[in-house]
Assembly symmetry: C2
Homo-oligomer: 183 residues x 2
DNA sequence: CTGCATCCATACGGCAGCGTATGGAGAGAC
DNA sequence: GTCTCTCCATACGCTGCCGTATGGATGCAG
């Protein structure tokens, strides 16, 4: 056969889309097959079962969720402060499908220990990198740790917080807040 | 009949427990009935359908999720700074079933507009109260807004962030961070 | 005691999804 | 052309859940 109509990676991709849209419970084989325009017969040729797909989705996310961002930040030159600004700009701009997946996985990790372990690995790698950047700005280690937690919580928690900001837009307040953090 | 064996409120209570444990998809009538030791026949006497239960669960949460905390903080005397510390202490201590429900609803709100509206109302009431407290500490309105967003994101996002903190415990870093915010 | 309202048990039809079994169409090897 | 391997379609049984229908048990009013 010349080309595989629906390769393994397409199932993973569509699975991640469903995960971002409706959580892990929304990752169902038959709806996925309909979305891909095939039947589920092909799925069970590529994958053992539904659990195998879920784990492979997490593999894919774990592989691409950290490296790409860090590499993009490290690609250009500049001191720690300018790299922090680039990191924040990237984190703010990534408001697409990837962000939805990220948030869904965080909620998923609250009730699945295996997912929690993966999230811990990913978060620690990100936190380590951010700590190295803030460490170049601040003298006090406690201050570094506080700023890291604040920045991390801000970017994650901000998407779970649904409040207005006294006439300002969320983007404006976000910029004010990040200015405080990198001072 | 003397006493209702399984009153409406017990279904709501058990529904909230299921919501906190597994999200809205985990709120299912027949498992709930088994958990309550009855059959689902009683459920459909109390409620129209599953959707009615979900909305009543949200009603209950919306009613008790804000007032109780604010009343507890306002009950004692003290200036704005001490009230902020009490507020943070309450928010840190509420690590039980109620917190799970809170986090589950936040994820739920990402994909259900009606839930999002409720969450917005609740968050705005909390944010208004916190703004009044920070407003008594800080002169600059921008600073007030930034601190409000930081504090709110910290308490919510902290539960979705799974990273270590360079040898310190999460509680230690949290205290350091809150110290920074109320300075 | 009888009638009635409340609350629950049981049984039913229906639907959606999982995983399996089996067959079939297409492309390359020879 | 035939054989074989890859990938998908179709059909099936099974499970879990929804919502309904119906009857039973209990307590109270008269």
């Amino acid at each position: 056969m010349a080309t595989t109509q629906t390769p393994r990676a397409r199932w993973v991709e569509e699975g991640l889309r469903a995960l971002g849209g409706g959580g892990p419970e929304a990752v169902r084989i038959e709806p996925l097959a309909r979305a891909l325009g095939v039947s589920k017969g092909g799925f069970y040729w590529h994958f053992e079962d539904r659990q195998t797909l879920l784990e492979e989705m997490l593999d894919t996310w774990e592989r691409t969720g950290v490296d790409e961002v860090i590499e993009a930040v490290e690609a250009e030159d500049g001191d720690a402060r300018s790299r922090l600004k680039r990191l924040f700009a990237l984190a703010s701009a990534s408001g697409g499908e990837l962000l939805k997946v990220e948030l869904a996985i965080r909620d998923w990790a609250r009730r699945d220990k295996a997912v929690a372990r993966r999230l811990r690995r990913v978060d620690n790698r990100r936190m380590d990198y951010m700590r190295s950047l803030f460490g170049a700005i601040c003298e006090d280690d406690d201050d570094v740790e506080a700023r890291c937690l604040l920045a991390f919580s801000l970017f994650i928690g901000g998407h779970f917080v649904s409040a207005d900001h006294g006439g300002r837009s969320r983007a404006e307040v976000l910029e004010l807040t990040l200015e405080r953090l990198t001072r």
